[in-house]
């Protein structure tokens, strides 16, 4: 089972894949991904695919809006991982 730190790493890796030029080291956990990284719907879809492939967690389309920040995304994954709380 992934720890929160592992989930955070996976989120950052997935973000790195869709925004290769973004400086993720300086990205605040509470910054809006869409605003900070200028993510569009294709990018969000890519993020969800990346997370699905890394973690097996399937974020349904209606929940894409809940992946607003890195912190939100980690929390969402933690809550939805197999056997999660």
């Amino acid at each position: 089972m992934s720890t929160t730190d592992e989930l955070r790493t996976q989120v950052l890796e997935a973000l790195g894949a869709i925004a290769p030029d973004a400086d993720l080291a300086t990205l605040s956990d509470d910054a809006s991904l869409r605003d900070e990284l200028d993510l569009d719907s294709m990018d969000m879809q890519g993020l969800v695919v990346g997370l699905y492939e890394a973690t097996g967690i399937d974020v349904p389309e209606r929940d894409y809006g809940k992946l607003d920040t890195v912190a939100d995304t980690v929390a969402y994954l933690a809550a939805h991982r197999p056997g999660g709380q």
């Binding site: 030029d21 869409r34 699905y52 492939e53 389309e61």
Partner: protein
Amino acid sequence: MSDFTMPSLGADMTAGTLLEWYVRPGDAVRRGDIVASVDTSKAEIEIEIFEDGVVGELLVEVGTRVPVGTPLATILPVAGSAAAAGNGAAPATPTATPVAAAPPPASSPPTPRTVAPLAAASPPAAPPLAVPVEGHRTRVSPLARRVAAQMGIDPETVPGTGSGGAVTREDVERAATTGTTPPAAEPLVPAAAPAAPAVQSAAEPAVADRRSAMRKAIGDLMARSKREIPHYHLETAIDMTAALAWLAERNATLAPPERAIPAALLLAAAARAAAKHAQLNGFFADGAPQPAEHVHLGVALALRGGGLVAPAIHDADRLPLGELMAALRDLTARVRAGTMRGSEMADPTITVTSLGDRGADKVFGVIYPPQVALIGFGAIRERPWAAGGMVGARPTAIATLAADHRASDGHDGSLLLAELDRLLQHPEELA
């Protein structure tokens, strides 16, 4: 013998810098193989060859900037049978000697690529020149890559039976049906990613130079468009309720990699509408409109850090939504990684620009010469919508058309937009 020349990768390109050769003298090549990468002022582009043959001499060294049309390499006709070339033994065959093939049937028609004579018999040949520079870069035909993306297969893992071990569409389909290939973790991004470091090669201009060169290239092309093309502009508001509901229902049944985004639906509708209105799909060249037989849909994609490119999705009007989405995802990833292909850059027949969900309400398009039309979509937003004597809030998109009066009139353009609207009210036709 014929020359493989520096291609024109868009109307704004006058010269290119050869970044890398993926072939060596003696290599057998088939139409569609990626043989080199070239740095235009806009991006690194992988360029394909458009005939079958054997690489003779490489005439231009890596790092050299040459004008469009400059011979880059000589291509010798395929010697004897396809077998000689097909089994990967080409480098050892006598035909590899450039000058030897004296009276060449230079104009011999390319052998049909549908046949892979030794497919069953020969083991997948190691690509004769497996591009040692980059670890591994299996040669994969663009079509095979597209099919692989759709099937969720990593084409790099498929045994290739094409020329030089290239992976063909048939190989991908065979792998899919026999299940010999593990599903890819991320079908296309890994294929593109290893190429990224190559962009930083010696020939690479500094980032600031690239940006100003890109800005100049865009400026020159758009200035030409504004100067030469008598634009007319139309717009129509489209009720997206049915399309979005249909898409949400479709996506709810699918795993994330299979889902499509609304932009893909808009592209699908645009491509099909363009196919029905040939006077808006094609070029204006040599003083006359030249309608295209295919719809190669240019997709305007913003580059992170500024600038844009509009590479083509080939035969987009014939792709089901899932395939179109895969192609769009592939293209977006490769644009970001800087690995577009020459054929994509050279031949869009109509371009679509979609501003995305964070974009403005509508776009007043500027046509990419020598094309004759550009379709634009603003952000899909809830807006007041009158229907049946009532006003309600509905998700709507404003579609615009910029078109060339030398090739069509407003009536033609209106019909195209009306067809676009009709398709989006019947999204199941786009599936």
